[in-house]
Structure formats: structure tokens, C-alpha cells
Amino acid sequence: MIVRSRHLLLACVLLMSPSAFAQQDQDAELKALREEVRQMRQEYEARIADLEARLDATENPPAETRSLAAEPAPKLEAEPETEPYDPKPYEPEPVYSAQTVSVARDSSFNPAIGVTFQGQAWSYEHDPEDYMIPGFPLGGEAGPAPEGLSLAETEITMSANVDDKFTAMLTVPIVIEDGDVVVELEEAWVETLALPGGLALRMGRFFADIGYLNNRHFHSWDFADQPLAYQVFLGNQYIDDGLQLRWLAPTDFYLEFIGEVLRGDRYPAGGAANSGVGSTTLGFKTGGDVGISNSWLFGFSWLSADADERESGDEDEPLLFTGDTDLYIADFVWKWAPNGNSRQQNFTFQAEYMWRNESGFYQLPSVEDGPWDYDQSGWYAQAVYQPFPRWRFGVRYDRLSGDTPDMIWAGTPLYPLGDDPTRYSWMVDWSNSEFSRLRFQYNHDSATEMTDNQFGLQYIFSIGAHGAHTF
């Protein structure tokens, strides 16, 4: 308010001044102005003379170069070169920091924000609402996409450095569940930047760093859905709250060890057992190059979780499991791109094997509690080929297998079919740029009681900041 009234006052004074005082002081003012102009002219003349002299020196260099000056010469530095050659540095302006542009605005500290838009259309022969794999109840977010047109998750990401020692990341997918808009929290973590010895500590909610696909966002999958093994053993993707410690060995080839302690509140853990420290993981990754066109990555990880009345299967009448679950994952990826130029042409082979033992007891709505101690396994292998820019073609094979449980489980969702569940998938996608992708996918799904032919269309578009992808 004070500021505004001052401005008002100043405006009044300015408005009044010419009419009130101009005539009286006209002569004196004119004199002063003339004097000022004279001084300015002197000053500028001196400067111009100086500039002319300098220009002359650069345009007419001494002796032998002058004869060549007639023909157009390549642009030289503004000043003639002296010995030794002394280049002047330009004022630095960092690019890869979180705060890049205009320092003057408050918004310059805003995090990098990105939005990914994803939608799909699926056609099934059998109602996807009733989708189940006998013997392998699905947990977490697993299961087929809704029939017909639907919106997949719309993902908002924000990330920035907190200070010189920490960086933070937030991923908030907005999903439609039974017609309601639901905002989820997929990732909310802070990570150290300055730990010595190749260590990094992450805290918060994150994708567990196990297997190859578990910590990849929906938009970077090569197929529109996760492999069956991921759907059954990890509920599509295992996300939990806790701590992650990574150590990168100082070796000549890539070798990294990862350990996590997690709350254990989400499938395949459940109920935040063991006083809220219900799940731990341990794993390593290694990889390297073969020539300049090939690279590979191998990983092995182990997830050990306590489950306390963990839900799986049908949402309305869930199966409840209490006990220990151990999951081992071996993953392997081979990528080829001629001369390492993946933009033109590339090929990726990827396979993962999972083995799980669960021991404890199951509670079913219709049956009495029963003991459970069985092994199950699953694997997939896929190949994606980009023969020319923009187009990629992929094929994937899925298979699950497991022990046949006791007859008390016959007729329940825990009792498998005679044959191992399998599925074949084909996909084609087209990307106009790295920010847009359209995909067609076909699944021949023999995992369920009746084989299903599934056709899907999908789009993925991102705007704003888009983080670099991992290998």
C-alpha cells in the first residue's frame, strides 16, 4: 500500500512539473541542456576516433597479409593473433544442472516436469474381468487391460536436485479404476549424490531393483503388458517403501550390487509383516560390450518377503496367504546396433527366469485354511527388431510351471491345469520421435482355461522433461 501511494505521488509530481515550473526555468534549463549536449558530443567524438583507429588496425594488417585482403578471407578472431595463441574463454553457463535458465526468476528452481499420456483399445474373446490363470493367482496390479477403449495411466513426473548432496524424484500416475479417477504414488524417493566409494542410498517409495523389467516405467515397456511371470510373481511390478543401497564396484567392467530393505506392504509381500520390515532384496548386475556393435547385461536377484494375509486372485473374494515367499530372478539382455547407432537399426534379445518358493498357509473364502509349501517358476524370452528408423517388430514367449499341490486344493484357484500356462505375443510399433509411439499387439494366450486371442492398440506420448532411459 505504501509503495502504491508513493508511486501515485511521483506520478502527480511528474504530471505537474511541466505546466507549473517549465516557463520560469526554461532559460536556465536550456543552458544546462546545451552544456550537457556539448560534453556528450566531445565524449562520443573521442570514442569514435578511438574505434576508427582500432578498426583500421584490424582491417589493414601490416605488410604481406594486406595483398590477400582483397579476396574474401575466412573470418578471423576480432583481435589479431599474438604468440602464444591465447583463446579467451566464454562465460560458462552450465547445462546439465537442474537449474539451467534465468536465475532471476523463482521458477528457475522448479523441478523438471514431464507428463506421459497413454491410452489403449483391447479386444478379447473371453471377458477380461474373469481372467485367471489356474494355479497362479494374480496379485497387485496384474491382469489384462479393460476391454474396449480405455485410458492407461497418465504419468506425471517431477525431479530435481535437492541440494549438492541429494536428488529427488516423484512419479504420480493418474489412473481410472472402475470409473473413478485415482491418483497413485508410484515413486517418491530421495537419493544421495555425494556418498564416497561408489555408494548410493535411496529412500522412499520406488520400484524394487530386481530383475530387468521391474523398475521400468509402463511407457518404456516393449510390449503393452508385462510378461506372465511378472504378473504372477510380482503383481506386474513390485513397488514398496524403504531403503535401497547400491554399490558400484571399481572394476573395469560393470559390476553393481544392490540391497533393499522394504516395508513389505505390497504384493508379493503383504501386511507389512515383521514389524514393518517385511521384505528384503539382494542382487547384482554385470555387463559389458562385445565389439562396438554389441552389449549385454546380466543380473541375478533375490527377494525374500514375509506375507501377512496377503491378497491375491479375485478382488472381491481374495485368497489370503500368510507365510514366507522367496523369489529368485535371473535376467539377461543382449543389444545389437550396427556401430552402436541404435537410431538406425537395432535388435534386442531379452529373457528372464523366475523361481519362487512359498511356504505358509492359504485362507480361502470357501475352503478351510490349509498348509502350502510349493515351488513355481516362470520365464519369458523376447526379441525386438528395428530394421529401419521408426518401426520396431517384436515377438515374446511366456511360460509358467509349478508343483502340483495337494488334492485339498483341487477345484480352487490354487490348483493348476494339466498343461503349463503359455502365451505368444507379437507387436509392431511406430515412433515418430522419441516422444511418441503407437503400437499394435496380438496375444495368443493359453494361460487360462480357454485359449484367448487378444488384440490391442496403444499410444504413448510424452511432453515436457523426459529423463534418459537406462540400458
Binding site: L68, E71, P72, A73, P74, K75, L76, E81, E83, P84, Y85, D86, P87, P89, Y90, P92, E93, P94, V95, Y96, S97, V101, D164, T167, L193, L195, G198, L199, A200, W247, L248, A249, P250, T251, D252, L255, E256, F284, T286, G288, D289, I292, S295, W296, K335, N339, G340, N341, S342, R343, Q344, S433, E434, F435, I463, G467, A468, H469, T470, F471
Partner: protein, 305 residues
């Protein structure tokens, strides 16, 4: 538990003796900067480049082998200006090496010490792959190489103060040789001034600025989008068929020759591949060879026409 410890830690014990020792380990994103690091630091540095001359530095993968190299680097030198935006941030965040994070002495962004050209007035992805901080291909003006050399020498001295004098000597010695070479190139290049060029991608803006070439068109319709048939036929009608539309069609070794040869055959304008960095051609074995060869190739066109 013991079994687990054995499985996870045994490999480490085997690998510990393998770790190599050097005064400064330089991780360069592009071959020109690893070559420059070796020119300046000589035997005191071990330099590796993440990319080679036949790769497009915009698009490489954040490969595991690169993560382990950044982990051990004392100095990371990259062109910057978002050239490596698709992979370098991932390498830096995965490599757990606080010494080489942006803002630290161990991270040198080469384009920050030169006058960047081609800074766009407005930013919109509809205009293609944009570089808000300007064109990142700064190495094609030798004056820029000299500026980066100075900055790099300073950084090396900060990182390894014991050998500071050697790095200073290395820098002065390089700049002396470079200054001589530059004046040689500049007098050789006089006939090239004012020539008009068509470029595959805007990789040559600093070369054009240095040699006073005029860029009349690019084969890419917008930066980062591969040449399309419709854009090429529009170029054909613009440039004419009598060879007078421009003096050369320029591409880098990793860019497909198809588009430039198609246009060469129809317009009569000679297409030429120019090395964009050290190793881009047989003759471009060093930074000196790079510019020698670029001029040789351009002057050969000039002589042929």
C-alpha cells in the same frame, strides 16, 4: 547366509587387483575431447571416449560399460548443450561418482567455454530435436578447440595439483602448435569463403561460421527427423538441376549416404562426407588431421568444379 555372501562377494575379490592407476582418468563423451585430453596431459592422463566417430552422439545407449568408466573417472568432458541429454544424465546418476557431477571440477562442459551459435528464439518440439542452449557441435571451429584446451588444462591442474606445471606446459605447447596450424588452415581455406552448402543435419554451423560458408538447406526436414521424400523433392525444386543451387552437400560418417547421393544425382551438386570428429576418416587420426582432412575434402570439390 554364508552361501549368499560367497555368491555376491567372491567376484569382487577377484577383481580388486585389476584396478588400474593413472594420474587423471578422463572420460570424454566425444573423441575430440579424449584426443584433446591426450594432447594436453600426455602420459599423465588415460582418456577414453564414450562414442566413436561413426556414432551419432545424440543417440547412444547408457551402456553398462560406460557406467563403470564414469565410476572411475576423475574428469568427464562433454560437448554439452544437451547433445548427450539422452544418455549422459543416466550415466552420471548410475555411476555414483560425486567428483564428476555437473558443477564439480571433474565435469567440464566444453560448449560452456565457447560462444554458442544457433540458440533458438523459441522452443517447441514441433520444430524437431531442439537444443535450447544452442548448437552443440562446437568442435568444428578450431578456435573453439583452443578455448576448450585452455579450460581443460586448468581443470587438470585443479584435479591433480602435483602435476599442475606439466598440464600448464602441455596446454601452452598444444596452443602454440595449434595456433600455427590454425593460421595455416585459414590461409588455405580462403577460396572456400562464401561457398554455399547443403547439410544433412545442422552439425556444421561452427565450421560454416569459421570458413564463412553459407548453409542454404538441410536434408532433415526438422532437426533429428530423418530426410523424407517430400522434403527432398522440395529441395530438388529449390536447388535446380544445373548444379548451381549450392556448392556441396555435406554429411557426417554416421549419417546415411542415401539422401545426399539422391540429391547429388539429380542436382549435380557434389556430395561429400566430412569427418565430424577424430577418427571420422582415415586421415583424421588426430585433431590436426581432422581439420587437414576437412579442408582437403572441401578444397578437392572446389578444384573439381
Amino acid at each position: 547366509m554364508q552361501k549368499i555372501i560367497r555368491v555376491f562377494l567372491l567376484p569382487v575379490l577377484f577383481l580388486l587387483p585389476v584396478m588400474a592407476e593413472a594420474d587423471i582418468r578422463v572420460f570424454a563423451c566425444e573423441p575430440e575431447w579424449s584426443a584433446l585430453a591426450e594432447e594436453i596431459g600426455g602420459e599423465l592422463v588415460t582418456a577414453t571416449s564414450a562414442t566413436h566417430a561413426l556414432q551419432d552422439p545424440h543417440y547412444v545407449e547408457a551402456r553398462p560399460s560406460l557406467i563403470s568408466k564414469v565410476r572411475k573417472a576423475d574428469l568427464v568432458v562433454c560437448s554439452g548443450a544437451q547433445l548427450e541429454i539422452g544418455w549422459l544424465p543416466m550415466l552420471l546418476s548410475k555411476s555414483n561418482n560425486p567428483r564428476v557431477l555437473p558443477g564439480k571440477e571433474g565435469f567440464l562442459e566444453a560448449s560452456s567455454v565457447v560462444q554458442r551459435l544457433g540458440i533458438p528464439d523459441s522452443i517447441d518440439r514441433a520444430q524437431g530435436d531442439m537444443h535450447p542452449q544452442g548448437n552443440p557441435h562446437i568442435q568444428m571451429n578450431p578456435h573453439n578447440i583452443a578455448r576448450v584446451a585452455r579450460a581443460m588444462g586448468d581443470r587438470m591442474a585443479q584435479i591433480d595439483p602435483e602435476n599442475a606445471q606439466s598440464y600448464a606446459r602441455g596446454t601452452t605447447d598444444f596452443l602454440e602448435r595449434w595456433g600455427e596450424a590454425v593460421s595455416g588452415w585459414e590461409s588455405r581455406a580462403r577460396p572456400l569463403a562464401g561457398k554455399r552448402v547443403v547439410c544433412h543435419h545442422q552439425s556444421w554451423i561452427y565450421l560454416e561460421d569459421w570458413l564463412q560458408l553459407e548453409e542454404v538447406a538441410t536434408l532433415e526436414p526438422v532437426p533429428g527427423i530423418p530426410p523424407t521424400a517430400s522434403h527432398l523433392s522440395a529441395l530438388l525444386s529449390e536447388l535446380g538441376t544445373d548444379g548451381s543451387g549450392a556448392d556441396a552437400i555435406i554429411r557426417a560418417p554416421f549419417q546415411s549416404a542415401k539422401a545426399s547421393e539422391w540429391l547429388q544425382d539429380r542436382t549435380g551438386i557434389p556430395a561429400v562426407m566430412l569427418p565430424l570428429t577424430v577418427g571420422g576418416s582415415e586421415a583424421a587420426t588426430s585433431l590436426f588431421g581432422l581439420f587437414d582432412d576437412v579442408l582437403d575434402r572441401l578444397l578437392a570439390l572446389q578444384a573439381g568444379s
